[in-house]
Amino acid sequence: MEKKVVLKVENLVKYFPIKAGVFRRTVGWVKAVDGVSFEVYEGETLGLVGESGCGKTTVGMTLLRLYEPTSGRIIVEGEDTTHYFMPYLKARSYVKKTYIRRFENLKKEKGEDALKELEEPDKKYYKIFLEGGKRALYEHLLSNLPEKRRAFRRELQIVFQDPYSSLDPRMRIKNIVAEGIAAHKLADKERINDAVASILEDVGIIPGHMFRYPHEFSGGQRQRIGIARALALQPKVVIADEAVAALDVSIRSQIINLMEELQERHKLTYIFISHDLSVIRHVSDRIAVMYLGKIVELAPKKELFENPLHPYTVSLMSAIPIPDPEKRNKKRIILKGDVPSPINPPSGCRFHTRCPVAKDICKEKEPPLVEVKPGHFVACHFPGSLKWSM
């Protein structure tokens, strides 16, 4: 059964400039996300896990184009969206660089035969190019950008960690939830209150409370309101960035359960970002493990837990205290040292400075992310050589 890809990220890079001096010159770069690729299937939950500063939030913010990517492609439902938020001329030059020039060469060399070797969306775009020339392809990619942006802003939503600062304290709950509905004309004016009521009910907030302000709600309830605000736009993909991290343990499971129910009811696709591998295990279908701006391992959940291959994944699993005192004497892998800085990441494999099984080559050569089994990707010269069992 072919699963439908809703979101595809190719070689995503996001560097932040480090400025210094009176002239605020750029003196270096924080390589927050440095070449990340993954796909997200319709209706699934992809978990993104890793320690503080590894770039999880930056991936989310860049996907949403709250940060402009430094490079890479972001494909949503088969359409390249990378240039959607660029100024027009820049967008045009992106299209020229990414497609037109390449396709002109392809046409000269292979003509229609090239279609066979292309993947989506390139294949679709090449067809347009063959049929209507470069004008047709420019037209396809660059027309109606404002409308495309609006649709994009609706289809991808985010729920943040902090239920306190992410809701405007001066706005009533009703307006917080209704804002997006009105902006995207998802309900008639007279019907907006009904729409808000039904969404609030959906997330377990008493609809009668819609005229209250955020401070009148507890942390868990505010997180429900944050989820309601995202759902109001009927999104396809919801990015949850540490959505349960700030909550008390007893409230955390309420919100996790709620998100799972909503996913089923509304056929949502989730990218669930968390530093907590236990939470990630519970919610995810597939899991991507990040370290210093890179994905080091990506696999279906069951496979990852039965057969973790990257030494970092194994170390992370072993570091987590299990809530069962019978298991306390189990041997742990204690990593040495701290996470290095993303400004000057280590050469070769970025994990080599802390890796218990590193050899000389790890310092010199960067291991690519390769598929070692169907659906199981790992970036390590010696996958599986660090052993540990739960």
């Binding site: 320690e51 503080s52 507890s218 868990g220 309830q221 008390d248 343990v249 007893s250 409230i251 955390r252 499971s253 309420q254 996790i256 359960n257 799972e260 530093h275 907590d276 591998l277 236990s278 939470v279 295990r281 519970h282 919610v283 069951k302 170390s315 992370l316 699993m317 072993s318 570091a319 987590i320 205290p321 299990i322 809530p323 069962d324 005192p325 019978e326 298991k327 306390r328 742990r332 204690i334 990593l335 701290d338 996470v339 802390r354 739960m390």
Partner: protein
């Protein structure tokens, strides 16, 4: 019972008198701490864990008053000591480390200065000897190149290093009790594993008793010999760690244990405790947990249960603790 507790907290009540009303942050907390053991205190945000430890250290701000109870340390009631006598105990006999070492460390002094000050305050040594001890301590807590680090400022260290420096400072006077308030909550898990490992090792070597405060049941299971579970300023359950995890006798503990996502087992759906954490300015009547409790009866609304010994050394504050016998935590 052969063993004598080194610390005994008895019916401790600490209230805050705020503009909005009286916050009964700690309301009748009782527990013992034995020599060399690790006592875990677990509970949700606002349950009174930090206030309990600050009360032991007598470090509350002006609004906070200890209105009742005793804190017996080596036979003396700390609440009856003068501030000068208390200062001798603080840092010397009982030391404390916090969640955010940046708050506890002074940003304008080097790590070395701060540890040396603690050493010279409590031990009769000169500056160069104190520096030597400080460097040794930094080495002991696993800080690389301690000769260099000793002259660095807190902001020059990573979070994990700062927590190590805090531990070094706390250990400088070989306290008999170390209170650690969420010492690893702000740290990454791989760094947490390093720090927990270090604390276990040092505890063995120094033979000190440890009070480990956390909201993480995993950390409790890993570290504690005995556990205090707090809810709304009260101890709701108290006992040996295996008992608490295998045979919880309070619905809150039971709910907590079955609501955590686990790394080691695949769970279908998480159980959850309904409702929200109670507002400290208006705690519910009767049993403070009754609005969220699946076992609650009429009686729970009107009457507050006592902490009763349900098995030797295992206490629960619930009228219906026997019902929990029938349930197994999965």
């Amino acid at each position: 019972m052969e063993k004598q507790p080194i610390l005994r907290v008895e019916n401790l009540k600490t209230y805050f008198y705020t503009e909005d009303g009286v916050v009964k942050a700690v309301d009748g907390v009782t527990f013992d701490l034995y020599e060399g053991e690790t006592l875990g205190i677990v509970g949700e945000s606002g349950s009174g864990k930090s206030v309990t430890s600050l009360s032991i250290m007598r470090l509350l701000d002006e609004k906070g008053k200890i209105v009742d109870g005793k804190i017996i340390f080596k036979g003396k009631n700390l609440l009856e000591l003068s501030e000068a006598e208390m200062r001798k105990i603080r840092g010397n006999e009982i030391a404390m480390i916090f969640q955010e070492p940046m708050v506890a460390l002074n940003p304008v002094y080097t790590i070395g200065d701060q540890i040396m000050e603690a050493i010279m305050l409590h031990q009769n040594v000169g500056e160069s000897k104190a520096r030597e001890i400080a460097i040794d301590l930094l080495r002991k807590v696993g800080i690389p190149e301690p000769e260099k680090r000793v002259d660095q400022y807190p902001h020059q260290l990573s979070g994990g290093m700062r927590q190590r420096a805090m531990i070094a400072m706390a250990l400088s006077c070989r306290p008999s009790i170390l209170i650690a308030d969420e010492p690893t909550t702000a740290l990454d898990v791989t760094i947490q594993a390093q720090i927990l490992d270090l604390m276990k090792e040092l505890q063995k070597e120094y033979g000190m008793a440890l009070i480990m405060i956390t909201h993480d049941m995993g950390v409790i299971a890993e570290m504690a010999d005995r556990v205090v579970v707090m809810y709304a300023g009260r101890v709701v359950e108290y006992g040996e760690v295996h008992e608490i995890f295998k045979k919880p006798r309070h619905p809150y503990t039971y709910g907590l244990l079955s609501s955590i996502p686990r790394l080691d087992v695949e769970q279908e759906k998480l159980k959850s405790i309904p409702g929200t954490v109670p507002d400290p300015l208006s705690f519910p009547s009767g049993c403070k947990f009754h609005p969220r409790c699946e076992f609650a009866q009429e009686r729970c609304k009107n009457e507050e249960p006592e902490l009763v010994e349900v098995e030797p050394g295992h206490f629960s504050r619930c009228f219906f603790w026997e019902k929990l016998k029938e349930l197994e935590v999965k």
